[in-house]
Symmetry: C2
Subunit: 439 residues, 2 copies
């Protein structure tokens, strides 16, 4: 085995790629580093940095998409507000798995949730001249912060690590009481840290949003992946937790990429609360001749952004949601594979002396799912990530996600076989041996 890679080799590669601190590397830089080290060492890495689906797309989806193409949709512009049957099925899907009532007209397909959040951040920043700031509850998904930057929207953020439970309200109020916050963005379950806000915390978010008239943008990319609960039964409790239970000032984003392993076709939905969809904003009317938030999202922002979303992929998403609602497609069971992998991988980390950074929701141990966070004996992120890279393990430092904690994010998507787990175990042992020798 050509591992560990010499310190000098990693250092030189980083210099060559113009990366001052590996813990601040973007995901694209991280991929470039890993590719470089794989070539230099001749060793295939354990890839914990990549957050891609590790499961094939369902036949329900692909069959529906191919049928739509056979029916001639490739030549027909999609309606920007979305395929009517998709809107209906998504409304049912939201009722079945979130127990929330949203009218079909308020549900809009987007080119992945990336397009969803890009245009929501853009619209929220234009609703009211006095509310010019987007608040990110971090750690979070770095591209959403990049979106705000690109669009010239001001942003604020805090690391939730020290503000869970009873401490959350005062922290939110500190930002919201400025009156500047247009929207609050977070994901639940959280990417990268996989915590889930508790019902108490969601109530606090809702209360603060209502008190200061801010919009909650809840990213449900990992919908129903809190495998501690039995979320797979449509129309039966328990349901996926959501802020929508506690306020009308919400917009949900649900991507098909992870829950349905449909990342390739860039398909997602944005679901406005019935109230937000029809809410009138004088500034929007002044700018675009249309006043309602929902009308502008569709006819101003999405129209200009791409004039709709792949027509055939809308049929795929529609069919998968319908099958899930009817109990014919257990998507939760399919993706619970990620929970199995996380359980095994976490045990391996634990056995080698690592610990989970974001470890609890209230008093309850975090769920096993797509991501988890890892630290090692107080070591800073740069040292930790460099050490892991030397041993053939690639990951993403928490620093890039707005976290103030030392550690890395690990994704289980590529840990599909026993051999993958064995490689992880051996390399972590090598990392520990190296630390002991060098300290």
């Amino acid at each position: 085995m050509n591992l560990p890679i010499a310190k000098e080799t990693v250092k030189n590669l980083l210099a060559e790629k113009d990366i001052a601190n590996v813990a601040r590397a973007t995901i694209r830089q991280q991929v470039a580093i890993t590719t470089g080290l794989e070539q230099l060492s001749g060793e295939k890495f354990v890839h914990l940095e990549i957050g891609v689906p590790g499961i094939p797309a369902s036949k329900v989806g692909t069959d529906a998409q191919k049928q739509a193409i056979d029916n001639g949709v490739a030549t027909i512009y999609p309606i920007i507000s979305g395929l009517p049957e998709l809107k209906d099925n998504a409304s049912q899907f939201i009722k079945a798995f979130l127990d929330i009532d949203i009218a079909p007209k308020c549900i809009i397909p987007t080119v992945g949730s990336m397009q969803g959040s890009f245009n929501l951040i853009l619209e929220c920043s234009q609703l009211d001249e006095n509310k010019d700031t987007i608040l990110f509850i971090n750690p979070g998904f770095p591209p959403q912060m990049l979106q705000a930057k690109i669009l010239g929207a001001k942003q604020a953020c805090f690391d939730i690590y020290n503000y869970r439970g009873d401490k959350l309200e005062a922290k939110l109020e500190e930002f919201l009481s400025t009156g500047k916050i247009a929207a609050i963005v977070y994901s639940n379950p959280n990417n990268p840290a996989w915590y889930c806000l508790t019902e108490q915390e969601l109530q606090v978010v809702a209360k603060m949003a209502d008190k200061y008239d801010a919009i909650v943008i809840e990213d449900l990319a990992y919908f129903c992946m809190d495998f501690r609960k039995e979320l797979s039964k449509p129309f039966e409790p328990p349901y996926q937790s959501t802020v929508a239970k506690y306020t009308d000032r919400y917009i949900l984003m649900m991507s098909g990429s992870k829950i349905f392993s449909y990342a390739g076709e860039r398909i997602a939905i944005v679901a406005f609360s019935n109230k937000m969809f029809d809410r009138e904003y004088p500034r929007l009317r002044q700018l675009y001749g249309l006043g309602k938030m929902g009308d502008n999202y569709v006819l101003t922002y999405l129209y200009a952004a791409s004039s709709g979303t792949s027509h055939s992929a809308q049929y795929a998403l529609s069919a998968m949601m319908k099958a899930a609602v009817e109990g014919k497609f257990d998507f939760v069971k399919t993706i619970s594979e990620y929970g199995r992998r996380a359980k095994v991988a976490k045990e391996i980390f634990d056995r080698n002396g690592f610990s989970i950074v974001y470890d609890k929701d209230g008093d309850v141990k975090l769920a096993d799912g797509f991501y988890f966070t890892i630290g090692y004996q107080g070591m800073d992120s740069e040292q930790l990530l460099t050490g892991l890279l030397r041993c053939g393990i690639s990951a993403m430092a928490l620093d890039t996600t707005g976290s103030s904690q030392p550690g890395i994010r690990a994704c289980v998507s590529t840990l599909s076989t026993d051999d993958d787990m064995k490689a992880l175990d051996e390399r972590l042992a090598l990392f520990v041996k190296l630390q002991n020798e060098e300290s």
Copy 2:
């Protein structure tokens, strides 16, 4: 026949829809008016307002897309810079039909040219703090002006009607000499007026762009639809005219929506000149840690906008371009149907006393194609459009496209049968009768 519709009925409907001037109605308002009048009159309209493909998508494309889905691409994130085989085939396609050399790496798929221009306008407005204005050569495509508005980019424009030929240089210089123009946007053939810039005019655009370091964004949505020339033979002259023959400061947009009738899947390419793709901009490096225009387009803007384009649709576009390059798929012949329809429709307008507004390229009569412009004896756009609506014909006023000429844009996409042409003829005759009676 329930036509003509009473003046009062049209007036009341416009009031109900809160539309002060029908000639300033957006396309979505226009559709609402037409739908309303169809319901009120019980008459199906002749739809000249809609610019959608009127031809089925090619089997080459749909077969390739379905095959890609069968091969599992629905689950795999597309590379944001594009499918390698699409980039290769697009490079060949551009060589075959434009006689221009662009390296595959400089060609990027987008979610329709709408996403292409949205992100080009955004990027161009951030390249240099001193160049903050996008110049539109009008008449143009209204959503592109909306994009600049949404993004907060300053815009300038002029109607080319009085500045064709020798007058173009001085007019361009008037804008460019301010030093504020980041990019010049136009379409060729032109939407809505279907003029084609002459070689002399393209040279002038190129010369001014070079003199003042502005980027030319050339929208080739109606690529190879100047049916006056035989453009269907790959690698044989004549070629589609382009500014790329005369400058390196260009970016081309080529949509699959019209040339391949693939509008439903939202697939297009943006092709940077080799020079522009690799051009370094200090301000981009400062903002995003990447300096090159092409790298930022992909890794900053498109990454944030949607993280790529439908994976399966990229295979469709790739296959259609490849087949066209190999002479196995004569896409020009397929879409020349639009030219046939335009010839017939224009004769009908002419016979009824209407005239073409934008009528010549230099000394040469305009081509027959997807769109043409129509005026009637100096009548203003509001009167003309109202009169046509009363007679069951829907269209878009030129006013919304940045034109200062009275008239309408007519699209031939829905004029597919002899009956459609007959209905057009009868209704135009009714319009003339009505004008004669009422004047």
